[in-house]
């Protein structure tokens, strides 16, 4: 029984049956991290001691006969954007180097309460701005399928950790695709829940109206188990929805799409899409049809404006959210030698502490919110957002879910797009509409692109609070593909 190859669901069962202890499971994953992470660089902080202490606690409680949550003793990696008491939180930025938050994010707290063992904090693009982890101040993570390729981003460390068997589960955040895009290019499952379905309290904000925490797993069921564990109303987050958590685990187990109406989004294909991605996507649609789904094509005419609208709204909010990093209360402080006033120290610290992409977006957002430009930029982008929501509403009047490729291309090479922000931004072309609308979406592996042998993701999109539909469709597709391939996709990775 190789513990790091087991799914979270399998580990959960083995732990419950007493076949294995949480300490053994945790140690196995720490060993795996020690063996491969110098190459993958998924982690910014490895919390070996606290992980083993948590595991020992779970073992002790289980020994007393206590009824534990499904994830008790199952390891999880947490994106370094969630506050964690007792561990650093950097957001991949120099400006937070050395900051130890005095409080846990709601999701950190829920993971601890469920007995999930937090292995450490994963690498990310600085403040979640990027699609490759190359914007991390601490160096990029590497795609376990090909170490010269990016693992996607911004939650690239979390995706790489799961794909490299360093953790069975990981938590990320999705603002423009930061869970689904890395999941797609690393050949694993990643979900952006409905906005407000998972708490943002303790998630260091990039764009408040978009940021959505969500799960990564190697299987659809694993992602559902983690999704369920972290979701639900949080009174500390005003935008948290006070409604029951959709039955995602049950839906993942049912995996039945017969009679479901599935819409293929016309606008999310064509020019700029890698042929190997499009052919895998077409095959996935055929598979769903063969499983009894009714497939139609649906037009969402305003999706083509989603990317520009996103690059006004997200930087605008970011310019304000990131204003608090000013050296006054925590984190980096530069130039405080007694000769400079507070304003100069703030400016110097921000100059040194922020990377190029973060500065670019702060400047973009500051400009878009400026008096005289607000209506033309931020105001107009919000109108576009409303039109995109209407496109979704109209589409979901006809079909139960929408599907598209999760990304236009497979993983690109490290350094390949680093100097071309526009090319980098295009990586989120398919994922951004769901973020702007606040509804739910998932990426599930649907094969390898013929031209490069790298994984392709199928994106499924559902209306807000219908997250269970994602798991129903993704689990059905996963089962059919696994049958066809004879093994999970990830098993074919070289690493």
């Amino acid at each position: 029984m190789e513990l790091t190859r087991m799914t979270a669901a399998e580990l959960s069962a083995a732990l419950a049956d007493g076949q294995v202890s949480a300490t053994e499971v945790t140690q196995a994953h720490l060993d795996r991290i020690a063996a491969v992470d110098d190459r993958v660089h998924a982690f910014l902080h490895i919390a070996a001691d606290s992980a083993l202490a948590q595991a020992a606690d779970v073992d002790k409680r289980r020994a007393t006969g206590e009824q534990l949550a499904p994830l008790a003793g199952v390891p999880v990696a947490v994106k370094d954007v969630f506050t964690t008491f007792g561990m650093p939180t950097t957001c991949g930025s120099r400006i937070l180097d050395g900051w130890h938050p005095p409080y846990d994010a709601t999701i950190t707290q829920r993971l601890k309460q469920a007995g999930a063992v937090i292995l450490g904090k994963t690498n990310m693009d600085e403040f979640a701005m990027g699609s490759s982890t190359e914007n991390s101040a601490f160096g990029p993570s590497h795609n376990p399928w090909d170490l010269d390729k990016v693992p996607g981003g911004s939650s690239g460390g979390s995706a790489a950790a799961v794909a490299a068997y360093e953790a069975p589960l990981a938590i990320g955040t999705d603002t423009g695709g930061s869970i689904r895009q890395p999941a797609a290019v690393c050949g694993i499952v990643g979900t952006k829940p409905t906005y407000g379905g998972s708490s943002r309290y303790g998630v260091v904000a990039f764009a408040s109206s978009l940021d959505t925490p969500g799960p990564f797993g190697r299987t659809v069921l694993d992602a559902a188990l983690l999704h369920e564990a972290i979701s639900g109303h949080d009174p500390m987050d005003s935008t948290s929805i006070d409604a029951p958590v959709p039955p995602v685990v049950a839906a993942a187990r049912e995996a039945d799409v017969s009679g479901m109406r599935i819409g293929v989004v016309t606008e999310l294909s064509g020019d700029g899409y890698q042929p190997g991605v499009l052919s895998r996507f077409a095959e996935a649609v055929e598979v769903l049809e063969s499983l009894g789904a009714k497939v139609t094509e649906v037009s969402c005419p305003h999706f083509k404006y989603a990317l520009p609208a996103y690059y006004l709204i997200a930087p605008s909010e970011a310019s304000s959210n990131l204003a608090r990093f000013d050296a006054m209360r925590y984190g980096l402080r530069v130039g405080d030698d007694g000769t400079r006033d507070a304003e100069e120290v703030m400016a110097l610290t921000r100059e040194v502490g922020f990377g190029a992409e973060v500065k670019r977006r702060i400047i973009l957002g500051t400009y878009a919110l400026s008096s005289g430009y607000y209506d033309a930029y931020y105001g107009k982008a919000q109108q576009v957002r409303t039109l995109i929501i209407r496109d979704f509403d109209a589409a979901f009047g006809q079909v139960d879910v929408l599907v598209s490729p999760a990304t236009p291309t497979t993983a690109f090479g490290i350094g390949e797009r680093a100097d071309d922000p526009m090319a980098m931004y295009l990586a989120d072309l398919c994922t951004i509409p769901s973020d702007l609308a606040g509804n739910a979406a998932i990426s599930v592996p649907c094969g390898l692109a013929a031209e490069d042998g790298l994984p392709v993701g199928l994106q499924v999109m559902a209306p807000a609070l219908a997250d269970d539909r994602l798991y129903r469709v993704a689990a059905a597709a996963e089962a059919a593909f696994t049958d066809r391939w004879g093994q999970p996709l990830l098993a074919s990775a070289k690493g």
Binding site: Y103, Y201, V204, S208, D237, S238, A323, D326, R329, Y330
Partner: protein
């Protein structure tokens, strides 16, 4: 000491040549138990940075949650100021960098205030001015900077600054008037009276302790001038640091005198923020509006819109207390006072004290007499407000009761007041401890009267002849013999009986 080199035009001349236009922006810290967006306490004067949490410190990842009570208080204020209450509105972020602002943006309201378009009637001299209320909105207070090492306590010249975030996140309501026209020479008084009336209103609503000296009520005063009768309003200045009612009046007065001089000399009033100096009664330039910040307001994405249900607003409206002006009118009628009497009572800050004393059983006349007379004199001597004397309305009521029962006379009552103010106990305890009660034992009194008659046979004879005015001498003798503890009218009666 701040000096000014400004040229001024004497006030009476200035208002002969110019019409003043004033406007007031008042900030009120709400008296909610907890802060605007977190559960931290709001008590004044705590150890610096002891009432803070991740939310009001703006730590990365923290999020605000609106305090429902702060919304209710703001609606209460809006309704009392005759405003419309928004059915749907949002908070906005006001972005600017300052070390006492934990997030470097302030959660405020911008183009969607909770309350709009109201008014407050203010009595200035003989007339009533209806002051238009532009808006009432809700925001969070900032922390407080303490600049150490400089001469002025301001940031210029300071060696370093300390920041206390206890105040950060305390709910703050901003009440903005429309421009107030037509007050002429009364402009400074009108400004002061408006703030006074507003303060009393807020206090009656129970939404704030409205203490200007603790900063829970803060005022910015806008002033501009037009050549008399022209209606061509000049540039306005905004005066900050106006921290008392008296300062409101002085600040307006000074700005009128200063701006008149600028305009007289053919100059141009600069649009700027000015700083009021309590010590000299002058204003000096602060930051100029020309280098004003662009606050980049946008709707606060961490909060959901506020949509107060109509029935909730109705409930709040139904529960509003009587306004201070309505209450004054009612009490004036109930107590049968003249307009001037009522104004005197109000200006002395004795209205509530008298009302409470009446409620505790005193007659309105007695309550007024003691508070405006003896007690006002004591407060004046001690340099404090009436309300701050160590004497409760209930105690005053008890003293008037003792007087009308004949237990105390006025002189003894004053002695009791002295003792109570000196912290020697309640009126009853003082009377008991000092044996101050009037001699009312008829036997004892009769004995003292007989002794006085015997000792003054000439006076006694005059009285017997019908010259009753002479009784005063005997009364005085009896009072002296009893150590002034006798009830003088009763003594007089006894004397006349004996000699009648």
């Amino acid at each position: 000491m701040t000096t000014t080199t400004e040229t001024l035009v004497p006030f009476t001349e200035a208002v002969q040549r110019y019409d003043p236009l004033i406007g007031l922006e008042t900030h009120v810290e709400l008296g909610t138990r907890t802060k605007m967006f977190c559960g931290c306490p709001t008590a004044f004067g705590a150890e610096p940075n002891s009432q803070v949490c991740p939310v009001c410190l703006g730590l990365p990842g923290s999020l605000p949650v609106v305090n429902r009570m702060a919304i209710e208080y703001t609606i209460r204020i809006g309704l009392a100021l005759n405003c419309s209450i928004a059915t749907w509105c949002r908070f906005a972020r006001k972005n600017y960098f300052y070390p006492d602002m934990p997030k470097n943006f302030q959660i405020s309201q911008y183009d969607e205030p909770l309350c709009t378009e109201g008014w407050l009637d203010v009595a200035v001299g003989e007339r009533t001015i209806r002051v238009g209320i532009e808006r009432v909105h809700l925001e969070e207070d900032t922390g407080k900077s303490l600049h150490v090492g400089g001469a002025t306590g301001r940031i210029q010249g300071a060696e370093y600054s300390l920041v206390d975030y206890n105040r950060a996140g305390i709910p703050l309501v901003e009440i903005v008037t429309k421009p107030i026209e037509g007050t002429g020479a009364d402009a400074p008084v009108a400004a002061r009276t408006y703030v006074t009336e507003l303060r009393d209103l807020l206090r009656s609503l129970g939404v704030s302790d409205v203490r200007m000296e603790e900063g829970s009520l803060r005022c910015d005063v806008n002033t501009s001038l037009a050549p008399r009768g022209s209606g061509r309003w000049g540039t306005r200045t905004e005066t900050k640091n106006v921290n008392s009612l008296r300062s409101v009046e002085r600040a307006v007065r000074f700005e009128i005198e200063r701006q008149a001089a600028v305009l007289d000399s053919g100059g141009r009033v600069i649009q700027e923020t000015r700083h009021f100096h309590e010590d000299t009664g002058t204003t000096t330039p602060g930051r100029s509006k020309e280098e004003a910040q662009d606050y980049r307001y946008f709707p606060e994405p961490d909060l959901v819109p506020v949509a107060p249900p109509a029935d909730w607003v109705e409930q709040i409206k139904a529960a509003l207390p009587e306004t201070p002006s309505a209450r004054r009118a009612r009490l004036q009628a109930e107590w049968d006072l003249s307009e001037a009497d009522m104004t005197a009572l109000h200006n002395a800050g004795a209205l509530d004290l008298v009302a409470e004393t009446v409620a505790a059983g005193a007659t309105p006349a007695d309550a007024r007499k003691w508070w405006l007379g003896e007690l006002a004199r004591r407060a004046n001597e001690a340099g404090t407000e009436l309300a701050d004397l160590a004497m409760t309305p209930a105690q005053v009521a008890r003293i008037t009761e003792l007087v009308s029962a004949g237990t105390l006379n006025d002189r003894l009552a004053r002695e009791v007041i002295d003792a109570v103010l000196a912290g020697q106990g309640t009126p009853d305890e003082v009377v008991e401890a000092r044996g101050l009660a009037v001699v009312s034992d008829e036997g004892e009194l009769t004995k003292a009267v007989d002794e006085a008659i015997a000792a003054n046979p000439v006076v006694a004879a005059k009285i017997r002849e019908g010259k009753t005015a002479a009784a005063g001498v005997l009364v005085g003798a009896v009072m002296k013999a009893t150590g002034s503890k006798a009830d003088a009218p009763r003594v007089r009666e006894l004397i006349l009986q004996r000699l009648g």
